[in-house]
Symmetry: C2
Subunit: 341 residues, 2 copies
Amino acid sequence: MAKTTLKSLAQALNMSVSTVSKALNDSYEISEVTKRTVQEFAKKHNYQPNVHAKFLKTGKTNTIGVVLPKMTGSFEAQIIAGMQKAATAHHYRTIIMNTMENEELEKLALQSMLDKSVDGILFCPIHEESNIDLAKQILKTTPVVIFDRTHYPIETHKVGVLNAEGMYNACKHLIDIDRRKIAIFCGAHQGITTKRLSGYIEAHHDFQIPVTPEYIVHCNVKSLVDLQDDLEKHVKSLLQLPEPPNAIVGVADTITTHLLGILAKLDIKVPETLAVIGFANTDLVLSLNPSLSTIRQPTTEIGEISVHKLVEIMQKKNRSQIEWEDIKLPTSIQLRRSTIG
Amino acid sequence: MAKTTLKSLAQALNMSVSTVSKALNDSYEISEVTKRTVQEFAKKHNYQPNVHAKFLKTGKTNTIGVVLPKMTGSFEAQIIAGMQKAATAHHYRTIIMNTMENEELEKLALQSMLDKSVDGILFCPIHEESNIDLAKQILKTTPVVIFDRTHYPIETHKVGVLNAEGMYNACKHLIDIDRRKIAIFCGAHQGITTKRLSGYIEAHHDFQIPVTPEYIVHCNVKSLVDLQDDLEKHVKSLLQLPEPPNAIVGVADTITTHLLGILAKLDIKVPETLAVIGFANTDLVLSLNPSLSTIRQPTTEIGEISVHKLVEIMQKKNRSQIEWEDIKLPTSIQLRRSTIG
DNA sequence: TTGTAAGCGTTATCAA
DNA sequence: TTGATAACGCTTACAA
């Protein structure tokens, strides 16, 4: 069972390699009869062009590389689904590399793409400075689109959401239901956190509520266990304040969802004692305790638009003239029992 | 900024291409001085060998391809994390292709690996017959390991769990707490479902409880909406039986976790009215309503062992002599409020 | 309409 | 210890 190559096909068909190649590529130079013969024969022998050899000639791999820091929940799954759908529509395949929030792995992932094993990269960096020099270097030769964590100082298209606005809306909703003592639970990834925090502060200003510094807490998100410990610690100390909060907004999926577990464990009533709302794209909203009010990101769209933008760059001849866009999609808010009793 | 190749290095250093190549590969034929000069110069110019050209010569890509049907939850994320860890240890990189439970996409994914863009494949098939001919053909030239859904009729290493035993233990636990009227909620993927169902039946036999056919329900898992509709329908009709069940076991992650949402929606008390336990590897057990008793699969291990087995095949000269193993790892059971009030 | 031949960036063989 | 050359599988001028 020797592998089927152009050569082996040519030999078997008694034609030249280039005729076979052209026939398979549907070239106008080749007669219909020959084309059909070749194509049928190739299919019968399950010919698959060798992408590596092809690359050597064309410099194209028809592959988009996705580099992202984790794949632990629905959020990432939805984004990737959107990317795959759009990529397939553009006749690209996608390969995914997970950096596990680890800069060393991120470096390896990016480097292994530097060798031109992909035509373009969709990149969600670990933080604002991670592997920035490498990224800049890659950018010289390979199109890159930054998604989700768009606070990354390289000049290219970026696709994210209106983070401040999303958080503003969450706070506004809490204020509307008369929960004005709002604690905010932040994580790492400063760019996004900062934006969301600014939405929190803006809402307080607009509604003339003073910002209580103690209500702004930062959680250790290094590992799940760390996060859970930290959440518990913060909840406890907040509730011991002279003026404890009556609501919590979560800055990210993991924080918001795991917070519910901690509150259940501590037997704190949600929403009676503490209303909870936060950024979250988990599928499990209804199974949570209680069902969770969320700020949802348009994940599928983020994925799709990222691909469209990348394809746009890849197809452009004169890349130096592109005007880079920083696309911010709106979030939506969905209310459930965790804020409306 | 022309790309750095062996040729460009050779020219700049005034050496031959083959000398440079050997120097970079640390060949014994090359003097230490030359090696150092070349290696330093190459690093300074950020030389990255072209994997495609390399492949053409060596037939190796140092890449493992992972083909799996979905990536929606912690279960998949944990398996992939295990794979990536083990692959990195063996100096392989991994690329992931998500087939979205779609046979056509699965075919594309497998085909795009047939062209030898990977050295080996870790494959979790959609169902027992999906793309079986293609898989068999791939197997002739490329090592494959089947993971998770191991009821797939090709001859190679397989890595899964003791499905019947896991379900047996779940039932035993329910029986221990005197919940003897157990409904089982099944999904698709017949192989695994069948095994788990057999554990259910075996437990009933061992404890001399008759199996009630109405307690065995099959859910439509095509989409999340379908699943939720179906879950609601089944729960309602079960509770209208003359002899309603007092416990439910879930056969898979999605079924078990979303079931909780439906029960909450219908305002059915868990565990008072219905105790719930099931296969689930979600991180969110504690945040669920109520905290969920689970049968956990050793996901990281599944991932790691799959890679080890694959590497074993890839390194073997004489592949026809390998004795294929069907590895079954034990599950563990974790009890929380959904079964122990 | 078909065939010849060069070349993409490597590695491997053999010669110098 | 180094260098010239062929080959991997493919595309593409150019020639026939």
